[in-house]
Symmetry: C2
Subunit: 404 residues, 2 copies
Amino acid sequence: MSNDGVLRNLRRQHELRVLAILVERGPCSRRELENATGLSRTTMSAIVADLVRRRAVADDAQRPATGRGRPTTLVRLNPHAAAAVGVELGRGHVSVAVAGIARTVLAHVTEPIGMESGLSARMDAALSLLERVAAGRRLALEGLAAAGLGLWGHHPDPRAGGGDPAGDLVVTDLAERLGVTLGAPVTWDNNIRLAAVAERYTVETPACADLVYIALSHGVGSGVVINGTLVRGASGTAGEIGHVSVEPSGPPCWCGGRGCLEQYLSIDAVLGRVRAVAPDVADVAGLVAALDRGDRSVRDVVDWSAELLGRALGTVAILLDPHRVVIGGELADLGDHLLGPVRASLARQKLSIRDRRLELGTARISQGAAAVGAALVALDRHSPIHGIAGAPAEPPGTSGPRFM
Amino acid sequence: MSNDGVLRNLRRQHELRVLAILVERGPCSRRELENATGLSRTTMSAIVADLVRRRAVADDAQRPATGRGRPTTLVRLNPHAAAAVGVELGRGHVSVAVAGIARTVLAHVTEPIGMESGLSARMDAALSLLERVAAGRRLALEGLAAAGLGLWGHHPDPRAGGGDPAGDLVVTDLAERLGVTLGAPVTWDNNIRLAAVAERYTVETPACADLVYIALSHGVGSGVVINGTLVRGASGTAGEIGHVSVEPSGPPCWCGGRGCLEQYLSIDAVLGRVRAVAPDVADVAGLVAALDRGDRSVRDVVDWSAELLGRALGTVAILLDPHRVVIGGELADLGDHLLGPVRASLARQKLSIRDRRLELGTARISQGAAAVGAALVALDRHSPIHGIAGAPAEPPGTSGPRFM
């Protein structure tokens, strides 16, 4: 890195610490920021001026005077300042999200797109959607810290030697275009994984540190968040729960395995089995209707699928002990028709699972969750804030803190 | 936190940054440390003096003069300075390890202990062993940053509401005693998990970020490291691979499940099945001898166990895509007699597993690995160094770094 780069990097570190303190403590005086960071008055003055210029913070508030002193000017985060943009290119839709430095979602919109559109046309649609949303909500996008891109399939880093180089070149080009348009560094990942990150922020404060998101759609996949961090794996292929074998003596799967979860829990697999007993069920909505009517034979098919999903989740629970398992994808519309028998299956398994804090629910974000996740992952990477983004969970035991 | 505490905390943060820079760059001048940290000359001077006094660093080296200047005094890490102690209380042994700030292992010794000894007597034995080792190798223990304690069983944080409060009180007392004796904050965890951390540092530089360690002993358990961080789970029970069901229609397990891995891969389970065909096999050594002789019926029993272990590992590989799977515990002595058929089982499963970078091997540390892991985990918690300890793996795709 050039000397210039080193200095810019150092300045950026200082900026991040100032923003992190404002996120954690709320509005602060310059003096308080100096004390908390150990930075000099001159350096702090320059940093705050630059952040004000970029509208990331404002210094328009005052703390009333105490005694005979004068009121203190406070620096605060601009709640409308965009810090990251996320773009999801889905199969049937594009979605964009804008997030603030404190991980608030400032905007999130989704638009359908024809299956015939190529990736480049999808990016056109997403950027045009972003432009309209930013204009309509008066969001300032010029000071972005980062941008994230969500795609289907796995796109491991070609520099690490994994994946299909040709496919990755297409992704690199898309990321490059997004980065040049927005003037920010771009991080990309798989849509299901990014949806997992979005879901972890929807429920609790602080965000759930250990969460498994399972998409039951045309395929079956998952995103795993551990200690607040997305699990990608050594080859970038972590989370392929669809190919966990739930019936070792089951039929062969296209992947080479036998009795894979996807063979029982994809939309087509479930609808195929249902139609054998109820030929009039055309789609997921029809399936929900049949279950609502109390169709017993349809119920039995769904129960069997749920039993197998419960087996896979039992394994996940034993290995990873997540706090929360979230079911997404179109089959999440089955709601308690599916979750009920899954819970029963889990309860029949290892006793200690019942003592765990495992919560099972359906996704809170119905569509375009990966856009939100992409913005958040990009922020975690380029603007990490301790205690908010990706902070590791406390270890089980510690008698500290004490310092040497 | 008191104002005093805040200042001590800030000073500690500055110290850590100085040590981290010395670990990453090697010997540096005071001026270079000032530039790299942004700290003033006065602050740096006080920090270095204090670190020299505590023998954590030395300032006895010089960089030769260039041109007409004078030689520059360099600050360097003291390679013999202990930064953390790890203590493992095992069933049949106690072990202690001493690690330096750069994660080097300065000492590691193990001593057998009678099964009749209570936890408190085991701690006595460990502390006495530590005293002898420190005296014999002239290790300075007065400047410890942290200490770690490894135990069998799960000991989740009682403050989080999990686990057995009575059992945890015993652990809290042991940790308290270790902390008072060593004058350092204490972190504790399960021995198998800590062994996983030790193994990740034995192989590569930088340490393997995604590793699964499986102990095949009187029970079957595992430790999972993801993105360089130990997975503990929401209730502190992550890693119980022994109760993953590998035969859904198998016999009931004591845990409430069916066909659990432990029912096929514990020492007793394997020896029990072996004795049905070879009654003279008394123990693991006898089993290895029978396999070395090429006993076909014994071979078949081990092959079946390996097939089931391969199923469990296939699930692990699909979910987590680890870089390395390490087999530890007494049955690791089977070596390629076990690993060979496990690899064959993995190869028969999902095609894409074969494209992954999964490496399968036996543990490098045969006994007392948790002591090493305890010291390293304690350092990660109380003296984290970016790029060395628990640093997250690079995300799969990124077109940065650029800064706003």
